[in-house]
C-alpha cells in the first residue's frame, strides 16, 4: 500500500516514516519535503493515503487539497499540522476526502490509534478498506 508523507520539514517525514514502518510492514512510503514534487507524483503513483502538513511555503497543504478537488483525485487525507487553529479545523471539513485532523507531533501511540480508528470504520466506509487492506499485518 502506497502512502505519501508531505511535509516541508525533512525531520518530520523521517520521524513519521519510522513510526509507520514500526506499525505496518506492507507500506510503501513516499516522503516529500517539496510539495510540488508531491503534486506531480499524485496522479502517477495514486497513493492509498496521504499524510499532509498545512503550513508550507510556496505550495501549502490547502493548495494540494484544492488541486485534488479540481482534478477529482479521491485519495483519503490525514492532516498533520502544528497549529491547533479552530479556523483551520473548520476549513478542513470543507474537503470531504480529509477524514482526520491531527496535531503534531504524532507519536507511535497516535499513529496506532489513527490506523485502528481507520480500521474500525473500515467495515462501513471506503476509506477504511483502502487504509487497511490486510488486517493480519496490523500491529
Amino acid at each position: 500500500m502506497k502512502v505519501f508523507l508531505i511535509d516541508d520539514q525533512k525531520i518530520t517525514n523521517v520521524l513519521n516514516k519510522k513510526y509507520l514502518n514500526m506499525i505496518r510492514e506492507d507500506l510503501v512510503i513516499y516522503d516529500f519535503d517539496d510539495p510540488e514534487l508531491a503534486l506531480e507524483a499524485l496522479e502517477r503513483e495514486k497513493p492509498a493515503l496521504i499524510f499532509l502538513d498545512l503550513n508550507m511555503p510556496i505550495v501549502s497543504g490547502w493548495d494540494i487539497l484544492s488541486f485534488m478537488r479540481n482534478h477529482h483525485i479521491e485519495i483519503p487525507v490525514i492532516i498533520l499540522t502544528s497549529s491547533n487553529s479552530q479556523q483551520d479545523r473548520e476549513k478542513a471539513t470543507l474537503y470531504h476526502n480529509v477524514f482526520s485532523f491531527q496535531l503534531k507531533p504524532l507519536t507511535k501511540i497516535g499513529f496506532t490509534d489513527l490506523l485502528d480508528g481507520a480500521l474500525k470504520s473500515g467495515n462501513e466506509g471506503e476509506i477504511g478498506s483502502k487504509l487497511v487492506p490486510d488486517q493480519n499485518t496490523e500491529k
Binding site: S82, P105, K108
Partner: protein, 274 residues
C-alpha cells in the same frame, strides 16, 4: 384785477410748495437736507435765516439755512438757554421779538405732534407783517414736511445701521460656521487616521496570532517528535539519525521565539502610540 393777482400769487406759491416738497423728498441723507431746503425756501417765505429743530426724547437735531446760502445740519445740538428758542421750547407760546442790533424780526413757533416728537422753527426776517399773519399756514406745512422727512431719513439711517450690524453678524457667523466645518474636517481626518492605525494594529495582531499558531509551534513539534521517538528506536539509530537534526530544530525554535518577542514589542509600541 385783485382777484387775478391773488390767483396768480396762489399759483406761484403752489408751484413753489410742490418743488419744495418734491425736492426734500428726493434727499437721500440728513446732511443734504438743509441744502435742498435752502434751494426752495426763498420762494415760500421772506427770511434772513431759518432754523428748524427736530426734538425727540433721545435728543435734538438742528437745521440752519441763511439767505446767503450757508447751510448746516447739526446732530445732537443744544439751545442757548437765554435764547428765544429756549423760551418757546419751554412755554410753547409763539413769540415775535425785534432784534435790537439789526432791527430784524425774530419769529419762533413750537409744534407738537403728540408722538413724543416736537419741532421748533425760528425765522429771522426783515418782513414785519406777512410772517406774523399770512404765512402761518405755510410755516405749518413746511414744519410738517421737514419734520416728516427728518423722521423718515432717521428711520432709513437706523435701518441702514441695523442692516450693517446684521451683515457684520452674518459675516462673523459665516466665519464661525467655516471654523466649525474646519474643526469637523480635522476631527474626521483624525478619526480616519486613528481607524486606519487601529485596523493596521488589528491585522498585525491577527498576523501575530497566526504566526504564534504556526511558525512558533512548528519547530517545537519537531523537537517534541524527536524526543518522543527516543524510546521507540535503538539508541544507535537515535544518535546517528535523529540527534544531528535536533540542533537545527532547536535553533529554528529559538529564532521563532525571538521573532515573536520582536513582533509583540513592535505591536505594543504601535498600540500605545495610537
Amino acid at each position: 384785477m385783485e382777484g387775478t393777482q391773488s390767483y396768480l400769487g396762489y399759483k406761484i406759491l403752489f408751484e413753489a410748495m410742490v418743488r419744495f416738497s418734491a425736492g426734500i423728498s428726493e434727499v437721500k441723507s440728513l446732511e443734504n437736507l438743509p441744502g435742498e431746503i435752502s434751494r426752495h425756501l426763498k420762494y415760500l417765505i421772506n427770511f434772513q435765516d431759518f432754523r428748524f429743530y427736530y426734538v425727540v426724547p433721545e435728543g435734538m437735531d438742528g437745521i440752519l439755512v441763511d439767505k446767503g446760502g450757508y447751510t448746516s445740519y447739526e446732530f445732537r445740538c443744544h439751545l442757548d438757554p437765554n435764547s428765544v428758542e429756549a423760551e418757546v421750547m419751554e412755554t410753547g407760546i409763539p413769540t415775535q421779538v425785534t432784534c435790537s442790533e439789526t432791527g430784524h424780526q425774530i419769529h419762533c413757533w413750537k409744534f407738537t405732534t403728540g408722538r413724543n416728537q416736537d419741532s421748533l422753527i425760528r425765522i429771522r426776517s426783515q418782513d414785519t407783517v406777512s410772517l406774523a399773519e399770512n404765512s402761518i399756514p405755510i410755516i405749518k406745512v413746511i414744519n410738517k414736511m421737514v419734520a416728516a422727512r427728518v423722521e423718515n431719513l432717521k428711520m432709513i439711517d437706523l435701518i441702514h445701521r441695523q442692516n450693517q450690524k446684521l451683515e457684520t453678524l452674518t459675516v462673523s457667523l459665516h466665519s464661525k460656521n467655516e471654523e466649525v466645518r474646519e474643526l469637523n474636517r480635522l476631527q474626521e481626518a483624525t478619526i480616519e487616521v486613528k481607524t486606519a492605525r487601529l485596523k493596521s494594529s488589528n491585522s498585525k495582531l491577527k498576523a501575530l496570532i497566526q504566526f504564534n499558531s504556526h511558525q512558533l509551534r512548528e519547530p517545537l513539534t519537531r523537537v517534541l517528535g524527536m524526543i518522543a521517538i527516543k524510546d521507540d528506536i535503538p539508541q544507535g539509530e537515535f544518535i546517528s539519525d535523529i540527534l544531528p537534526l535536533m540542533q537545527e530544530s532547536v535553533l529554528d525554535l529559538d529564532l521563532a521565539v525571538r521573532e515573536v518577542i520582536e513582533r509583540s514589542e513592535l505591536l505594543k509600541e504601535e498600540i500605545e502610540t495610537t
